[in-house]
């Protein structure tokens, strides 16, 4: 697992060449909300992320995690957190109140896909082949972990509840992979980026699943802020740090851990594909 070795060596490096404490502790705490769009349960990733922003922004960083997308979105909307790494779907749901501050670039593009996965021995060739089985979604507010499959079904005139024998929410993309790998459910809807990272760092887990179908490319889960705080210097600084991550050692180490190339400002148009799917689902309701 080369990624793990990288992580540890980077952390060790960080400990050795720590910056002066004065620079770190100055100013009010910046709160960043995190949804389970990435490997949120990896303590090393979280710590690396916190340390990177701490160093870059020169102030303490609090990473706020909640179980559901909805909770994190609510924290952003009510101002409890200054920024949040959301998913394209909740961003679009609240696009009037929110503004993009950075979109991750993965494999050269700010795009990702949703994967439909099943057990390696499962004969299903497409979504239709999974009818009647149990299905694991990540989160009801996740694009790749719910909306994509739900909208595909909507286009077939079906809902997840009547198409699948049973649906469960695991509140984490890695959990979806676990659910399918263990046989708890027959299939699952998962973030393609997460699945690919898992295939590299936890090949045994990802290897216990098979990608049945990949969606079209959609806007990568973005980092958003409240529109009314767009001019806040702290927010502006955060946006700069986000964009400059590839420029610093800490930033590069963090991006390497996340398997990302960097962050771009991004435009709402990136999420048109998701918006189209939202409409399809809404129509069926």
């Amino acid at each position: 697992m080369p990624a793990a070795i990288d992580r540890r060596s980077v952390l060790a490096g960080l400990a050795v060449c720590a910056l002066p404490r004065a620079a770190r502790s100055a100013g009010a705490t910046f709160r960043l909300g995190l949804t389970p769009v990435f490997l949120d349960n990896d303590a090393i990733v979280i710590e690396q992320l916190r340390e990177t922003f701490h160093v870059a922004m020169g102030r303490p960083i609090e990473l706020v995690q909640r179980r559901t997308y909805q909770e994190v979105t609510a924290l952003l909307l009510d101002g409890t957190v200054d920024a949040a790494w959301l998913c394209g779907y909740p961003y679009l749901q609240h696009r009037d109140a929110l503004r993009l501050v950075g979109v991750p670039v993965w494999r050269g593009r700010p795009l990702y896909r949703s994967y439909l996965i099943a057990a390696p021995g499962d004969a299903a060739a497409d979504l239709a082949g999974l009818e009647g089985g149990s299905h694991a979604f990540s989160d009801p507010d996740s694009n790749s972990g719910w909306l994509v499959t739900a909208s595909d079904l909507a286009r077939m005139g079906r809902t997840p509840e009547d198409f699948f024998g049973r649906t469960i929410f695991t509140y984490g993309h890695r959990n979806v992979v676990r659910a399918v790998a263990s046989g708890l459910t027959r299939s699952g809807s998962v973030d393609g980026y997460v699945w690919e990272v898992l295939a590299a760092v936890e090949p045994d887990l990802a290897g216990a699943t098979r990608v049945v179908r990949k969606s079209e490319w959609l806007g990568f889960p973005p980092v958003a802020i409240r529109k009314d705080r767009a001019e806040d210097p702290l927010i502006r600084r955060f946006a700069e740090v986000l964009g400059d991550l590839p420029e610093t050692d800490h930033g590069r180490a963090t991006l390497r851990l996340l398997d990302l190339d960097g962050f771009i400002a991004g435009t709402p148009a990136l999420f048109d594909g998701i918006a189209a799917r939202m409409r399809d689902v809404e129509r069926l309701r």
Partner: protein, 476 residues
């Protein structure tokens, strides 16, 4: 088995019993150790399962109430990664309707399946009844899932007890090896010790068994030390051997005396037999001397002399035959009975008795029997009968050979054999008193493998000796 055991000598049986008891004690001890081990293992297992179930109940209660499949699975999955949980091969959580919410291995217990449909659920035990009685590597336990004081579902746990079963097997093997070795060693020591203790019994039994009529006292060196029961027993035995020897010596002397008495009587009657014609012969010799010139008288006297001398020659020959050493081993012939008649008749004539003589046998019938002992038997019985019959009495001898055997029947009209004499004739060795030569008869008949019968009918006493057919060539 038991019969075979009972046939064993005491000196083997007692140590074997001690060894068997040692083995039994070893088995009981092993059983106790194993039972204690099983109790310990079961208590450990129950405690583990109780902790497992209690911990899961606390963690899963809310999720089970909400029927949150993922949370239940996630908890089971994470709990299953704890080091202590490796024993839980499978944990299944079901709601209050026994519908499966999640299992640590969903492939074995699919979500929404029914708990009852799982293999082995029917045999699942409550926590308090966990047992390792069967050597099965898996044990299933069914426990209620309690949350806030009420049953909200149930937890089925499949325990992997292969290591405990293996541990028990190892313990059984170790116990078998160790206890087996110790028990065998103890059994051996016990066997040897008791065997040593029992050795004097073997010595005593050997001496008593081989001594027969001539028991040998146990040498003082072999006497057990101290004044134990065994030493007393040995001394008593040695005292008894002395008594038996003294008695045998007395018997031998009595027998010798009997022989002499018998000989004396026979020789006195024979002296009569020789003496009786002597007067006539001397008269004939005188007559010849007185009338040497009367040829008719001389001829008649010489005839008389010849007859008398011939008779005396016959008598002398019969005596010689009866006592000749080289007759030993010769076969019996009808002439032997003629000799007997010649030997006994002077005594009978002296008493005015008339013998009733019936020898209905051929030479071939008698060829299988030895002459000397049979003659001795018949002569002694006849002498006894003659003495018993008294003057003018009736004495009979009948010799027959039915079915190859030889029967001598001697009868008289005497008053019958006194009790002591009869006992001497047909009883065991060592009887004494009454009857001359009867002890000799008894010994000779016994040596020839025959039997003696006594019958008293009216005024007649009959003693019948039956000798079995001897093997061919035995008399040669």
């Amino acid at each position: 088995m038991i019969r075979a055991y009972r046939r064993l000598p005491l000196a083997v049986r007692a140590p074997a019993l001690v060894a068997a008891l040692m083995v039994l004690a070893g088995l009981v001890a092993s059983q106790q150790v194993l039972a204690e081990l099983a109790r310990g293992q079961e208590a450990r297992l129950r405690e583990l399962v109780r902790l497992h179930v209690d911990g899961l109940s606390v963690a899963l209660g809310p999720s089970v109430l909400r029927k949150d499949v993922w949370e239940v699975y996630d908890t089971l999955d994470r709990a299953g990664r704890a080091g202590d949980a490796q024993r839980m091969a499978l944990t299944v959580v079901a709601d209050s309707d026994d519908r499966i919410l999640a299992a640590s291995d969903p492939l074995r217990a699919p979500v929404d399946g029914h708990l009852r449909d799982l293999a082995g659920v029917a045999a699942a035990l409550p926590v308090d009844a966990i047992t390792l009685a069967s050597d099965a590597p898996r044990v299933r336990v069914l426990a209620p899932l309690q949350y806030q004081g009420r049953n909200v579902g149930s937890i089925l746990t499949e325990l992997d007890v292969a290591d405990l079963v293996a541990e028990r097997r190892r313990a059984v093997r170790a116990l078998l090896a160790f206890n087996g070795a110790v028990t065998l060693a103890l059994a051996f020591v016990g066997y040897v010790a008791v065997r040593r203790m029992m050795r004097p019994v073997s010595v005593l039994a050997r001496h008593m068994g081989t001594g027969g009529a001539d028991p040998v006292p146990i040498p003082l060196a072999q006497l057990p030390g101290g004044d134990t029961e065994m030493a007393q027993l040995f001394r008593t035995y040695n005292g008894m051997t002395g008594a038996i020897r003294a008695r045998a010596e007395a018997e031998r002397r009595l027998s010798e005396r009997e022989r002499l008495v018998s000989l004396g009587r026979l020789s006195s009657s024979l002296a009569h037999e020789i003496n009786n014609p002597l007067g006539g012969l001397l008269n004939a010799a005188d007559t010849i001397r007185t009338y040497p010139d009367r040829p008719d008288i001389v001829r008649a006297s010489v005839d008389l002399l010849l007859r008398g001398l011939n008779h005396m020659r016959d008598v002398a020959k019969a005596i010689l035959d009866h006592n000749r050493l080289d007759r030993a081993g010769q076969a019996l012939t009808p002439e032997d009975f003629d000799d007997l008649r010649l030997l006994i008749s002077p005594e009978m004539q002296r008493l005015g008795q008339r013998p009733v003589w019936s020898v209905a046998v051929s030479r071939a019938d008698l060829a299988g029997f030895p002459a000397a002992p049979v003659r001795q038997i018949a002569l002694n019985l006849m002498l006894n009968a003659s003495a018993a019959a008294g003057p003018g009495g009736h004495v009979g001898l009948s010799v027959t050979c039915p079915d190859g055997s030889l029967t001598l029947s001697v009868s008289d009209e005497g008053p019958g054999l006194p009790e002591a004499a009869l006992a001497r004739l047909v009883g065991a060795e060592g009887q004494s008193g009454g009857g001359v030569g009867l002890g000799i008869v008894r010994d000779l008949v016994r040596d020839l493998g025959g039997r003696i019968e006594h019958a008293r009918q009216g005024r007649s006493t009959e003693i019948r000796v039956t000798l079995p057919a001897a093997p061919a060539g035995a008399a040669a």
